[in-house]
């Protein structure tokens, strides 16, 4: 039986993937810190687009709201409050570039090899768009969070409270 080709989804995936990898490379190589924050916005919106491709609607919206809407704004505030220089920094990388590249390439090679061996590109591992419950709705997420994963949810709330208090105490001008 021939599996579906899913042309549109594959084209969308590869376009988003190329954009994300390019933007991620620019995040770690650019000398301008504000540009790095803006390339990070590209990566984060690419991740949200991938979530939409996977029919995970709630987390796509949460990603845009929390990551792009709050965390990147926090980064920009931090850049502003630490008086980052306008334009390029001369010394944005330390001397370990070659070691860093070799470690990253080695790690990537090992991970991709393991993934190739485990989850090959066979028809059995294609995304199944034909079932009735392909979209994972907010309803399901809420049912899961508030019944099965209630204790981690409460723990995350306490963690966020502790982080908030900690950040305020640390940043006070006393």
């Amino acid at each position: 039986m021939l599996a579906e080709l899913m042309v549109a989804e594959n084209i969308a995936f590869y376009l988003i993937a190329v954009m994300m990898v390019g933007a991620a490379l620019r995040v770690v190589t650019t000398k301008n810190i504000v540009h790095a924050a803006l390339y990070l916005v590209l990566v984060l919106s690419g991740v949200a687009a991938l979530y939409i491709l996977l029919a995970a609607e709630f987390i796509a919206i949460t990603q845009v709201l929390v990551y792009i809407g709050a965390i990147v704004v926090l980064f920009l505030f931090g850049i502003m409050l630490t008086r980052a220089p306008v334009g390029e920094l001369e010394d944005s990388d330390n001397e370990q570039r070659i070691v860093g590249v070799s470690i990253a390439v080695l790690l990537g090679g090992v991970m991709c090899f393991v993934l190739w061996k485990a989850y090959r590109f066979t028809d059995a591992s294609q995304f199944d768009f034909s079932g009735p419950n392909v979209v994972q709705t907010t309803n399901q997420v809420a049912n899961s969070v508030f019944s099965t994963y209630l204790v981690p949810f409460e723990a995350i709330s306490v963690l966020l409270l502790a982080a908030l208090i900690g950040a305020v105490v640390l940043a006070r001008r006393d």
């Binding site: 990898v21 995040v27 790095a36 926090l74 997420v141 900690g166």
Partner: protein, 99 residues
């Protein structure tokens, strides 16, 4: 769309984040690379959840997003304190405890 496509993309972004953490000198750029790593993990979780039709992947990714937000808040507060004390956020200059 194969599962491996998403996993390999997440592995690539993870490795780019690892390179960023190792090489960058500015504290805020290191935090941005950590955000890349966390997003790669999230892609993995949501991809597995979608392909196995299990909602747990999304729930776990939600928790990771919440933890990342808390970590960025505290991390930036630390960077600001560093800046206040020494006027520089170069992580190579934090060597007060060096022998």
């Amino acid at each position: 769309m194969y599962l491996n496509q998403f996993l390999m993309l997440a592995a690539a972004i993870f490795c780019i984040g690892v390179y960023g953490v190792l090489v960058r000198r500015n504290g805020i750029m290191v935090l941005m690379s950590v955000e890349l790593i966390l997003n790669a993990v999230n892609i993995n979780l949501v991809a597995f959840g979608a392909f196995r039709h299990d909602i747990t992947g999304q729930v776990f990714a939600l928790f990771v997003i919440a933890i990342a937000a808390a970590e960025v808040g505290v991390g930036l507060a630390l960077v600001m304190m560093l800046y206040r004390n020494s006027r520089s956020i170069d992580v190579d200059d934090i060597d007060l405890m060096k022998g």
